[in-house]
Symmetry: C2
Subunit: 317 residues, 2 copies
C-alpha cells in the first residue's frame, strides 16, 4: 500500500492542507481562510476537521504515514509550543502540538513555516538536486529555511534561518525587528511599498508613482511592479535595490556556507524579472566563490504549495 | 597504551608541529620559520623531518593515532591539493597530501588552517562546551572555521567559512578580494593600519597618530592599539569600527545559524579590550535573538596553538 502524509501550512491569512503520497504526488489540497482573528482554538478545530476529512478520503487507498505542519511563528519545538507569532494573534505560548494531537488522536510533527517550505523545495521543488539549500520567502516579511545535509537546520533554539534579519545596510532602513538595514527592510513586498512612500514623502518620486498613490488608497507591491515593467524610474530603482540587497545577503551566505543552491519564494516572486539582474550582478561582484564556481539561485518551483509539501515530508523522513 | 597524534600548522611565516595525546595534553611543540620562499618541496622536507622527530620521541610511550595538518590556503580536500594560497608562494596546485604521505610513509589528513583552528577550539579551547561554533582569526586577513554538530562544515567545494568576506558595509573599503566592504577590510590587523593611513591621507588623523607615522616607518596594528589605550581619538575610532563590523557580522551569523558560540582568535586578539564594547553593543542592537538569549563570544583560549590542536584532533575523530 502506497503511503501518504498530510501536510498543514498555517500562515497569517490562509490555512492550507495537502494529502501527498510518498512519491510527492499532491492527491488533494484544501485552502481556506484561517480566520486567525478568532484565536487559536477555532483555528485548531479547523485544522483537525480538515485533517480528518483528508484522512477519511485518502486513508482507504493509501496508508497514512503521518501528519505535520509548518506554522508562521517561532516555535519551541521540543515543547510543541509557539513562542512568538506576529501574524497569529493570541498564539504566544500556545501548546499547538498537544492541542492538535488531542484533536486528531495521533502524533503530530511541528515546524516553523520557513523550514517546511525549504524542505518542500528540497524534496519536490527547485532544490531537489541539492543536499544543501537556503530558502527565502519574500512576502510581507522575509522568512527563511536552511537545509544542510538534507535536513532542516534548527540551531540551538529553533531560531535559525532568520535570513530576513541579516543586516545588509548597517545605517539603512528601520526594520520591524528594531534593527536598521535588515534584508527584510529592502527585499520584502512591504519594503517596496514603504520605499515608494518614502520617495513620495521626500519628493523624489516619479510622476507615475505619485499618480499611483493618488489614484489608489491601498497600493501594493504588485502595483509598483507593474510600473517598473513600464519603465518607471522610481519603481525600477526600488526593485533594483531589492535585488542588490538580496545579492549582498546571498553573497554572504555563499562565503559562510559554500552551498550550491538558493531558492526564493513568496508573494514577491512574480516580480523576479525586475530584480533578478541586480541580484545576480551583486552576487557575482561580491563573491569570488561565485565567480570561480557559480551557484544556483532559483525561483521556488512549488510556489505557495512548498509549505504543505515540506510539512508532509516531515512524516516521510 | 595512550594514543597521541601529530598536528601540523603551516602558515605564511611559521611552521608549527605538536605531539598531543588523546586527552588533549600537548606533549611537545616545535615552532620554526617555514621559509616558504624556498618553495613547497623544501617546506615538505621540513614538515616530514619534524614529524619523524616527534614520532621517534613520543611513539615509544604512546601509540600514534595519526597525523594531520592545517594549511593556510584553499584546498581541494578529496585530491589533497592546494587550490590557492596567497601566503604560500608556489603552492597553487601542489599535491601536498601525497607528497607528505610519500615523505612519512603513512596516511595524512589535510585541512584548511581556519577549519583546524576552529576544531582545536572546539576540542580543548573556548568552544569545548558547544556542539556548534563559528571561529574567526583576526590577523593579516580574516580566516574562519565553522563547526556544526561537532564537525567541520566544509561546504560543497571546501570554501566554507570565508567569514572575512561577509559584506558588512556595502559601499565601504575595498578588500583584497576585489569586493567592497568585507569584514576583513575593517576588522583585520591590516585594516587597522590601512584605516590609520587613510585618516592621515585625508587629514582627519589626530596629532598622536600623525606623530606615530612620522616616527615609525613600519607602523603595526599593535602600535595603534597602544595609542587607543592612551585614549587617542583616531585610534579609538578605528578599533571601535573594528568592533562594530565584527558585531554586524556576528549578528548576521546568529540569525543565520542560531548557534551559541563564537570564538575570535589571531594576532589582533590582544587588542580585544579596545574593540569588545562596540562589538557586543552592535550584536545586541542588531539581533533580537541575542537580546532574547545571549550567545557567547569568546577570545580564543588556545591562541596560536589552536591549529596544532585541531590538526591533531583530526586523527582522533
Amino acid at each position: 500500500m502506497t503511503k501518504f502524509a498530510i501536510g498543514v501550512d498555517l500562515g497569517g491569512t490562509n490555512l492550507k492542507l495537502g494529502a501527498i503520497d510518498e512519491k510527492g504526488t499532491l492527491l488533494e489540497k484544501i485552502e481556506i481562510n484561517a480566520e486567525t482573528q478568532d484565536g487559536p482554538s477555532e483555528v485548531i478545530k479547523k485544522i483537525c476537521a480538515n485533517i480528518s476529512k483528508l484522512n477519511e478520503r485518502w486513508g482507504q487507498t493509501y496508508k497514512l504515514s503521518g501528519i505535520g505542519a509548518g506554522i508562521a511563528g517561532i516555535m519551541k519545538l521540543e515543547e510543541g509550543r509557539v513562542i512568538t507569532a506576529p501574524n497569529l494573534p493570541g498564539w504566544e505560548g500556545f501548546p499547538v502540538r498537544s492541542r492538535i494531537e488531542e484533536g486528531i488522536g495521533r502524533t503530530f510533527k511541528l515546524e516553523n513555516d520557513g523550514n517546511v517550505a525549504a524542505l518542500g523545495e528540497k524534496w519536490m521543488g527547485a532544490g531537489r538536486n541539492s543536499q544543501h539549500l537556503a530558502f527565502m520567502t519574500l512576502g510581507t516579511g522575509i522568512g527563511g529555511g536552511l537545509i544542510l545535509d538534507g535536513q532542516i537546520w534548527h540551531g540551538i533554539s529553533g531560531m535559525a534561518a532568520e535570513l530576513g534579519h541579516i543586516t545588509v545596510y548597517p545605517e539603512g532602513n528601520l526594520c520591524n525587528c528594531g534593527n536598521y538595514g535588515c534584508l527584510e527592510a529592502y527585499a520584502s513586498a512591504t519594503a517596496i511599498v514603504r520605499g515608494a512612500r518614502h520617495l513620495i514623502k521626500t519628493k523624489q518620486a516619479s510622476l507615475k508613482m505619485k499618480e499611483l498613490f493618488v489614484s489608489s488608497k491601498e497600493v501594493e507591491a504588485k502595483d509598483i511592479y507593474r510600473l517598473a515593467k513600464l519603465g518607471d524610474s522610481s519603481s525600477v530603482e526600488l526593485f533594483s535595490r531589492m535585488g542588490t540587497s538580496l545579492g549582498i545577503a546571498i553573497a554572504g551566505l555563499i562565503h559562510i556556507f559554500d552551498i550550491d543552491t538558493f531558492v526564493l519564494g513568496g508573494g514577491a516572486i512574480p516580480s523576479w524579472d525586475v530584480f533578478e539582474d541586480s541580484m545576480f550582478l551583486e552576487v557575482e561582484t561580491r563573491s569570488f566563490v561565485q565567480r570561480a564556481d557559480p551557484r544556483n539561485i532559483y525561483k521556488s518551483q512549488l510556489g505557495s504549495n512548498a509549505g504543505i509539501y515540506g510539512a508532509a515530508r516531515l512524516s516521510f523522513l
